[in-house]
């Protein structure tokens, strides 16, 4: 009986529909979505399985899982990726969506070629945060804002009026639109060299020049300045409310109208929506669930618990919501917002804009020239796809090559039987198998894939075979002069100089310290040794971020020290030399301990009586170093130098985190450049793979040289 009961229960469970929902929420937002899912279960009896995926990983997980029917029925994502999801055919159109129930821009954001996808849940956009305790009225125009800032700022006390991440185009976009900027021409391409671009840049630069706002602002700095009352006004989004210290009085307002044009500053509007998977087995249920999440109680929960700005209009009528100053303020802001275009072209705008912005803010480029700079970068980054060619000759070539190889091997093996020549081959293979498997899976397969990828052009999920076009484009520096940072040759030279400078510094500093530490009479020798190895023990990205902070123009320790010495503060990342030097300094800090440890070990293995003999022979200390120490260190130091040079050649972290390629990509090295082509410049995977292959060839050549170097002196 019991058995039967269990059986029927399990059948009932198996029959009961289960919906899977993937999202990237955490904290209050996650609680809100869990509560809404429970409400849906209570209402319909349908179980909902929730899976929280880290936001950064969610997109790639969705695009890989859904086509294999392993994905969710419903997922929550920002609308910017909608075009990509649509291209990959993982999202289904929404059914019977009533436009009138939502904020108009929120629905617009979900439209692709006249069809709506998903149900809008919440919106995100920028607003003006004002510290209430300063007694300023909210500015409605830029003229008012400037007056306010002038009163609020006091450069002598390091007090500013305004703080926002001015180097990021997401934050500059409202100003750009407010000055009449238009991102896309009717043909869909971008054109930046316009008067609106110039005037928006000029305005921001003037705020910075008048010290109304600080330079090189990061999100963390915005938070600090606002909380410490060193910035009266901040431009940020809903997430900023969570960063304001409790007890700091503030209010939220729409961004002001630009006095020169009379246009409002229109922020980008991000819409989070519940999308239905195109591969769901229960489309009706999934549509109902997605719709349920976007309306009614689910929305109210999201507002009260998750502090998200609802896309549903009715939610604002709710008693609790209507009293919430933050929510209502953002609604007012959102109505002026423009949805971030969900076009592929949008993805190509960020980097050129960022380049131009930083160049102007750092003073390297006049506001009038910013547009031209952005245009050039835009054209360079958005390469025309090379002509498609047929892969047939390649396939035939590879097949012939393989056949020839196999044939050669068979011929070579003829005569003596294999078992004769290698009687223990079976056991040998067994021993080799684990390492061989690892090598195959971790090295050979990725290498072959990378190699093949370099022969393709990638555009939004479509790969076309282009033969060697990527290589010829790179090697002929197509689209830019070889003296420009985007050119392979420029980057190669930078990489070589970078490697050489680092290795020379690492070895000389490391060796110098090792010689000091070798002295057995040195007091606290053990303490110094540990302290000097510490830089090596700290994860390098942490060190990189610390140095990045120390190089900050206004708040960094290095400029503070220089200031005390009477040196003008250096804007480290504005000029190539200082930016490059900052990278080298950071990496030298990280790199010398290794050379020191290696040298110390090798130094200690040199018998002291050699020095005594040399001394009696008549050698001075310097001669002893040159004729005894250096030659005897060579066998230990040479492999370390080779290793160090390869590490430095590919030292992505430091470049990416310290200079970030500033100014204008000039300090990027080959690997960081390859990374940008793959992940920041329109996903040109094939082009980036070609870069990687070229890096491989450079390092391969170097390894041949070093082989010769170390082979010349048999140890």
């Amino acid at each position: 009986m019991l058995f039967l009961a269990l059986l029927s229960a399990s059948i009932a469970l198996a029959d009961a529909p289960v919906l899977k929902l993937w999202h990237g929420y955490r904290g209050g937002e996650e609680q809100a979505i869990e509560q809404a899912a429970k409400a849906f279960t209570a209402l319909t009896g349908t179980q909902v399985e929730l899976l929280a995926v880290p936001y950064d990983a969610l997109s790639s997980k969705l695009t890989s899982a859904i086509p294999h029917e392993a994905g969710p029925d419903v997922f929550i994502f920002a609308h910017e990726r909608l075009r990509q999801f649509h291209r990959m055919k993982i999202v289904a159109p929404s059914v019977a969506l009533d436009r009138s129930k939502y904020l108009a821009p929120a629905v617009d954001a979900l439209e692709l070629d006249g069809t709506l996808y998903g149900y809008p849940l919440s919106i995100k956009c920028l607003a003006l945060f004002l510290r209430e305790d300063r007694g300023f009225a909210a500015p409605t125009t830029t003229a008012e804002l400037e007056r306010l800032l002038t009163q609020a700022a006091d450069p002598s006390k390091n007090q500013f009026g305004l703080a926002y991440e001015a180097g990021d185009f997401y934050f500059h976009a409202p100003i750009f639109f407010g000055f009449g900027g238009v991102l896309f021409k009717p043909d869909g391409r971008s054109q930046f060299d316009t008067p609106a671009m110039t005037s928006s840049m000029k305005w921001v630069k003037s705020l910075q020049d008048r010290k109304l706002m600080p330079q090189e602002v990061s999100g963390a700095l915005v938070k600090t300045l606002f909380n410490e009352n060193r910035a009266a006004v901040v431009i940020s989004g809903p997430w900023f409310t969570g960063e304001i210290d409790p007890g700091v009085p503030y209010s939220i307002h729409p961004l002001p109208i630009v006095s020169d044009t009379g246009l409002p500053m229109a922020p980008f509007l991000g819409v989070e929506a519940a999308f239905v998977s195109s591969r769901t087995r229960q489309p009706e249920l999934a549509q109902a669930f997605a719709k349920f999440l976007s309306l009614g109680d689910a929305t109210v929960t999201r507002v009260t618990l998750g502090r998200q700005i609802p896309a549903e209009l009715a939610a604002y009528e709710n008693e609790v919501v209507a009293k919430d100053q933050m929510i209502t303020a953002f609604r007012a802001v959102a109505e002026r917002g423009t949805p971030t275009p969900n076009t592929l072209e949008m993805a190509r705008v960020w980097e050129p804009m960022k380049l131009a912005l930083r160049a102007v803010l750092q003073g390297g480029v006049a506001p009038e020239d910013a547009g031209a700079l952005a245009d050039r970068r835009y054209r360079a980054l958005n390469r025309e796809a090379p002509p498609t060619t047929s892969p047939l000759p390649w396939i035939i070539g590879i097949v012939i090559g393989l056949l020839a190889f196999v044939g050669y091997q068979l011929r070579a093996g003829r005569g003596t039987s294999f078992a004769r020549r290698f009687p223990e081959a079976g056991r040998g293979l067994l021993y080799v198998a684990p390492a061989a498997t690892g090598l195959f899976v971790l090295v050979i397969i990725p290498f072959v894939i990378g190699l093949s990828l370099s022969l393709f052009h990638h555009d939004a999920g479509d790969y076309t075979f282009v033969g060697l076009a990527n290589f010829t484009d790179i090697l002929t520096s197509k689209g830019y002069r070889i003296t420009e940072p985007l050119s392979f040759y420029f980057t190669l030279v930078v990489t070589l100089v970078w490697t050489l400078a680092n290795v020379v510094l690492h070895v000389s500093i490391g060796l110098f310290l090792a010689i000091l530490l070798k002295d057995p009479l040195l007091k606290l020798r053990g303490v110094y040794r540990v302290l000097l190895i510490v830089p090596w023990a700290v994860p390098n990205y942490i060190t990189a971020m610390m140095w990045k902070g120390m190089f900050h123009q206004q708040f960094g320790a290095i400029n503070a020290i220089l200031g005390h010495l009477g040196v003008e503060p250096v804007s480290w990342f504005t000029h190539w030399t200082t930016s490059f030097a900052a990278n080298v300094i950071t990496n030298t800090w990280l790199g010398f301990p290794f050379m020191m440890v290696v040298s110390l070990g090798a130094l200690q293995s040199i018998p002291t009586d050699l020095y005594e003999a040399a001394e009696v022979d008549g050698a001075s200390k310097w001669t002893q170093f040159r004729r005894i120490t250096l030659p005897l260190l060579k066998p230990a130091l040479l492999p370390a130098v080779i290793l160090g040079s390869v590490w430095t050649f590919n030292m992505f972290n430091i470049i990416y985190l310290v200079s970030g390629g500033e100014p204008g990509g000039g300090t990027d090295i080959l690997v960081s450049e390859a990374y940008r082509w793959a992940f920041q410049r329109n996903e040109q995977y094939g082009f980036a793979a070609a870069y990687s292959v070229l890096i491989f060839f450079v390092l391969f050549a170097w390894s041949q040289v070093t082989k010769r170097l170390s082979g010349a002196e048999p140890a």
């Binding site: 018998p607 009586d609 050699l610 005594e612 003999a613 040399a614 001394e615 009696v616 022979d617 008549g618 050698a619 001075s620 001669t623 004729r627 005894i628 030659p631 005897l632």
Partner: protein
Amino acid sequence: MRPRVSDVRLVGIKKSFGDNVIVKGVDLDVTPGEFLVMVGPSGCGKTTLLRIIAGLEQADAGDIFIGGKNMNTVPPRERDVGMVFQSYALYPHMTVKENMAFGLELRKLPRAEIDGRVAEAARMLELGPLLDRKPKALSGGQRQRVAMGRVIVRRPKLFLFDEPLSNLDTALRVQMRGELARLHRTLGVTMLYVTHDQVEAMTLATRVAVFNKGVLQQLGAPLELYHRPTNTFVATFLGSPSMNLVDARREGANFVGKGFSLPAVGDAQGEVKLGLRPQDLRVGAKGPLQGEVEAVERLGFDGYAFLKTAAGPIAARFEGADVHVGQTLWVEPQGEVLHVFTADGTKALHHPETRGAKA
């Protein structure tokens, strides 16, 4: 060309490492052209003294004169001394030729001169075929010769050797000892040689300096030290097997100890220590001292027997006789052979006259 020679003079040299006093005030005069061997047990300060002379250590007190010049603060490279290290200290990354030429290159000698000197030293030491090898490819004896060659080519005023033969096997040591003696004869320079091996000291030295616990015990020609040791330390340190020492008391015309009585020599009174070289004693059926044989070292026809007597252990020579362990036998001195020391052994009171006169 006759090599320059020099004398070395040490006055009141003291040296300690931390609380460890190694050299306790040494005065020493080395005459030009002599081969002076400094000998003593491990830790007696002889190597430290050599290193102080070379300039590799600084003395805490005292003066060093080389060739009449005070060298207290002169760095090693300006003292014009050559040193052969116990470990040889050959430069592993240089060939034999480069090792030898190194010191000359540093002195900026013309290339031809360098090559000439290296070739000459190589001929002298039979290193000719090895000149292009690295030290790693050499045998112990060959390395030893290179270390010597490195000093020879420089033609210093003073040669210093720090236990140069201690890393060689016995046969090679005997051979190298001969070569060193020949080298000294050929070059005629002053050589200072540190060893703990009394055989090297006896065979090589024109004079031997015996050290113990940082103090110079006795300085003299090898046979003088052997025949007229100034105290029991020197007496037992030189000679093999060691001199027998027994406690005794003067009673009338005799020295009387436990289980023996010998005719007295000299005018020592009261408690004394008597020294008897095993070579001067014979094992036989009669004699003044009786003991049980505990061990036998037979070298062939003759050998040494080690007896347990009432006065203590005694070593004595035997010839042909059928001596084996467990036997009870007598020991008899061969003539007038008694060395007499004070009871604490710090001073000699009497040596056998005839033998001492020969030395």
